[in-house]
């Protein structure tokens, strides 16, 4: 039973010599040793783009949630949002790495000798028009009610997608989805509980959550509009057509709305292009400018 002894040795080692510790070591491939062979009959470019857009959804919302760090209404919610952001960042990292492995040509070129791994090149060296996330995840956080309403919508939708995606013919996507659905289920429950609390709290909290939901609603239909890359991925047996989860997602939301005594909003869909095509609101460019500035300034940097 060497655990106790090793516990001490790990920490005593830290005090005198941190050479063995992870800081300062090279990047590691999140898919190290994972078989990333593209399944038979699947266009690698389709698989890569599909992974990329699912990864972008998680990456952009993760960044938005981290904007709450140190600023949430209380410490518990600060930690909760940071934890959820970390889960989404992990999903994004795996999906971007899977995209790069399926089709290396989707990775932006960096100067010779740059140590930046493929998933970081995709996250930090693409412009907003190359991001394929739905627009719902990119709009600014607003207040806590708006963040709660967005997380409820997003997690409910993504959980339904991932439930089906766990049956993907692509073993990597299938594993990422099987893992991710465990996380998304408690993201959804967390947001659902807060949605209920705010809707049934004070007059002010109810007003805010109703405003938040109404404000986000025009961006909601976009999540169920089948984009050609999603249709192609679904036909190849590796992806899920988002239109196929609409009824299921609607039923879950209806339960939350009923419990919270909140009427289903009726706002018309927002006009403009689709985020999946790279047609974004101006908020994404601003967000990426902040998210990417350090990486872009140091394309040869080691962290």
């Amino acid at each position: 039973m060497p655990a106790h002894h090793d516990h001490e040795s790990v920490y005593s080692g830290l005090l005198v010599n941190d050479a063995h510790w992870a800081f300062g070591t090279d990047f590691e491939d999140p898919l190290a040793g994972v078989d990333t062979t593209v399944p038979d009959g699947v266009d690698p470019a389709v698989l890569a783009r599909y992974c990329l857009v699912l990864g972008d959804d998680a990456l952009v919302l993760s960044h938005r949630l981290t904007e709450w760090c140190g600023r949430a209404p209380d410490l518990e919610e600060d930690i909760a949002l940071a934890n959820i952001a970390l889960d989404l960042l992990g999903q994004a990292r795996l999906l971007l790495a899977r995209a790069a492995a399926a089709d290396p040509s989707c990775v932006p070129a960096l100067p010779e000798g740059s140590p930046v791994p493929a998933e970081d090149a995709l996250a930090y060296f693409r412009a907003d028009r190359d991001f394929g996330n739905v627009r719902l995840v990119e709009v600014p956080n607003g207040d806590f009610a708006e963040t709660t309403a967005r997380l409820l919508l997003f997690a409910t939708w993504r959980l339904a997608l991932f439930e089906r995606l766990a049956g993907s013919r692509d073993a990597v996507l299938s594993a990422v989805a099987a893992k991710g659905r465990k996380e998304l289920s408690y993201h959804r429950d967390f947001a659902g509980r807060w949605f209920l609390t705010l809707a049934q709290g004070t007059e002010e909290s109810r007003r805010r959550v109703l405003d938040a939901l109404g404000g986000l609603w025009p961006l909601w239909p976009e999540l169920f509009r089948s984009h050609p890359v999603e249709t192609a991925a679904a036909q190849a047996g590796v992806g899920v057509d988002p239109a196929s989860v609409a009824a299921e997602v609607d039923a879950v939301l209806a339960r939350v709305f009923a419990a919270a005594d909140v009427p289903r909003p009726e706002a018309a869909p927002r006009v403009g292009g689709a985020g999946r095509d790279g047609a974004h609101t101006e908020a994404l460019g601003r967000m990426l400018a902040e998210m990417q500035v350090v990486a872009r300034a140091h394309p040869g940097g080691r962290w």
Partner: protein
């Protein structure tokens, strides 16, 4: 002791960077230790959560321990499937958590069909790891790491961590 036994013993002695009272084996993160035809040790580890920031530290600790045990060539691979579950934490691991004042997880939720929406506060059969009272309250569903929730014992008034079932 065979060479494989020695490699396995070395790998199984490595502790988790965030829960150092547990070995990676007791946490269920160490999935395989094998000898390759070329003599290298091949180790498979699985992330507890998608965003687990400790994978690189685990890999480095495994490589360091195995090199120390005389294995020059060590390859650590990631195993994504099947997804980690708290059910893989061994009885010895659960005892080590409790001894360190952390409440071990109960059985993970069974999967099958769509995940049921839960709008009520999470209800778990949790006991205070210090005084064993069942009179405990959840103070935060998220704790110091992704895998833990914060509780407080109403009997002895001490706060404690609970490893969430996943």
């Amino acid at each position: 002791m065979t060479t494989l036994d020695r490699a396995r013993a070395a790998a199984e002695s490595v502790v988790d960077p965030e829960l150092p009272m547990l070995t990676l084996a007791d946490l269920g993160v160490l999935r395989a230790v094998e000898l390759a035809a070329d003599g290298a040790v091949r180790v498979a580890i699985t992330p507890t959560y998608s965003g687990c920031p400790a994978m690189a530290a685990m890999r480095d600790d495994l490589v360091r321990e195995l090199r120390g045990a005389g294995f020059a060539e060590v390859r650590v691979r990631i195993a994504l499937d099947p997804a980690w579950t708290t059910d893989w934490i061994t009885p010895r691991g659960r005892a080590a958590l409790a001894a360190a004042g952390i409440s071990p997880p109960g059985p993970a939720p069974r999967r099958g069909g769509p995940v049921v929406l839960d709008l009520l506060p999470p209800r778990r059969d949790v006991r205070c790891p210090r005084c064993e009272s069942a009179d405990v309250e959840l103070t935060s569903e998220f704790g110091s790491t992704a895998c833990k929730a914060l509780y407080r014992c109403r009997a002895c008034l001490e706060p404690f961590d609970h490893v969430k079932e996943i």
